[in-house]
Amino acid sequence: MAAEKVKENAKLNYFFIKLFVVLTHIVLLLNVYLNGVYDDAAAVIILSAFVIASDVIYFMILGTFTQDTYTVDYLLVLIANISLIFQSCFGGVQFNLKHFITLTAGMISCHAGYLFTRNSFKAEKFRPYCYAGIGVLMIVILLFAGSRSMWINIGSFSVQPSEFMKPLLVMICASSLQSQQTKKKYWIIRTAPNNIGMVLISVLIIAFQWWCRDLGSIPTFAAVTGCALINRLCYPKAAFSKRKIGALAAGAVALAVLAVKFAPGYVKDRLYVDIWADQYGNGYQQCRALIAMAEGGWLGKGPGAGRLSNVAAYDTDIVFSSVSEEWGLLAAILFVILIVLMLATSLINTPKCYYHGTIAVGVTAVFVVQMSLNIFGSCNMIPFTGVTLPFLSNGGTSIVTSGFLIGMLKASQSPVFVRNIVEVEPGTERGDQS
């Protein structure tokens, strides 16, 4: 079977893609060398060596994988090393080793996510463990993160365990056609057992995030659950019930109004702050971010020439503005478009099974909401939330989680349909489906 796959994939030649990925990185590095701000050219040489060497190593490793499609992988390599170059240039060119390590971990995590979910039948059986995993993460946060915090400090590293809940929730929200349609009656509701579990765990996660004061992640979890609910209420085949969607939207609006009404004081301050009137208070980061974007213009001030690196969270929460300042608004938008293209690959090569389709919807929901919160928050179009931009923001937990989610997306492109079916005489009822 595996040999057959290799033979089939050998028909497609990825040489030009590899060449263009490396050339794109070389052009970016040349731009750093010619227009960048650095004290020593050795910094650019080290950065170039790591970028090109990692390109070659990733390609060699990709050559050993047996998959049906590789476009997500190549897009990820392109995005990862562009991100490394961007991050290494903030406030002066210097190779960012930490970001390189986390990106490498993200690539490994991507393949782990693929292996974990490529077989929809096996992946669906992990669902009870996903519930358990979320429970364990909550206990870990309660025990080790301290009062109302989501961060665990281990030496010089900080881990945000709640990030790991995202792929787990996506897996819980994914469903095969069979399990979605096997309904039971609970009191007055007739629904699939997993629907009850999914709603309960989502409510629990959102309540927990609220309690921990990590309100920025709540829209992401809510979006994943909302998309899954729409899938479950309206599937199959776009039979979108206006009444059901209307009720769901009304419920979401009511919850949002209640959330704003009962939000903590500091959140209300951010919601209603006039950033220009409060430039040195709640509007400090957004003011600096907007000024930096304006200074950068369309094409940027040049790699390493930015001044936003003096502002807190320049490489995480307002990273979009940092890139806009140094590389220009067009380059920053282009980076976002690359991520959107990666998500859009599942529209080109549509998933062959319903489980992977729902996974793709969940992963897209996570990425779109996170990117929107980060970018529109930086631009003062919505309140500032402090959410990371996938693959661009500096942050190990975020990159590893994003990598895992992209691996799940990749699984929908290169699925494996193997199910351990107990051999029975044709026409005979099977007792065991394992």
Binding site: L12, N31, D68, G297
Partner: protein, 174 residues
């Protein structure tokens, strides 16, 4: 409707300023380098997307090779099987619709994995029968007779035409 021409002039000037600003930024060496960088990123993304289209075709071929040209044949209808899970039922939103009152709205699911078809009943009222025997879940073979309520159909291997198309390509719904 009143149009304030002064405002229109201002907005046109703004657009003009914007374009002039962009031009002024591009004609510098740094600007030219930035445009060159973006051009390469665009080209790279375009190459990858084009390859994605080729991969789609290859996946389709592989799917056909592994799956064969399989179809649900009911009366005069021939409905090719395109995905690994197919919902059978009376409801208009089912993947394959049987507009017969004896069939439940969502009656059964046909699943394909590793060369094997599996038919699973979704607790339907009239039941699912395979070669005359009531089943809840069963492995099925090509040419087996399946009955959902009063509707009888078969899973058949359909012939492939010379140009790669299928013979008897039919509508999914009646």
């Amino acid at each position: 409707m009143n149009v304030d021409l002064n405002n229109v002039n201002i907005s046109l000037e703004s657009v003009s300023d914007l374009l002039n600003g962009l031009y002024a930024q591009i004609i510098t060496f740094r600007g030219f380098a930035s445009v060159f960088v973006m051009l390469f990123i665009d080209l790279c993304a375009l190459f990858i997307l084009l390859k994605s289209g080729s991969e789609k075709k290859l996946c389709h071929k592989k799917w056909r090779k592994e799956f064969g040209y399989i179809a649900v044949v009911e009366g005069g209808r021939v409905i090719p099987v395109e995905t690994s899970e197919i919902l059978l039922g009376r409801h208009r939103s089912a993947d394959i619709q049987f507009p017969d009152l004896s069939v439940s709205r969502y009656h059964a699911v046909l699943t394909y994995s590793d060369g094997v078809f599996l038919l699973e009943d979704l607790n339907s009222k009239s039941g699912t029968y395979l070669n005359g025997k009531k089943i809840h879940s069963a492995v099925i073979n090509v040419d087996d007779e399946i009955r959902l309520g009063a509707v009888v159909f078969q899973i058949k291997r359909i012939k492939e035409t010379n140009n790669g198309g299928r013979k008897g390509k039919g509508k999914r719904k009646a």
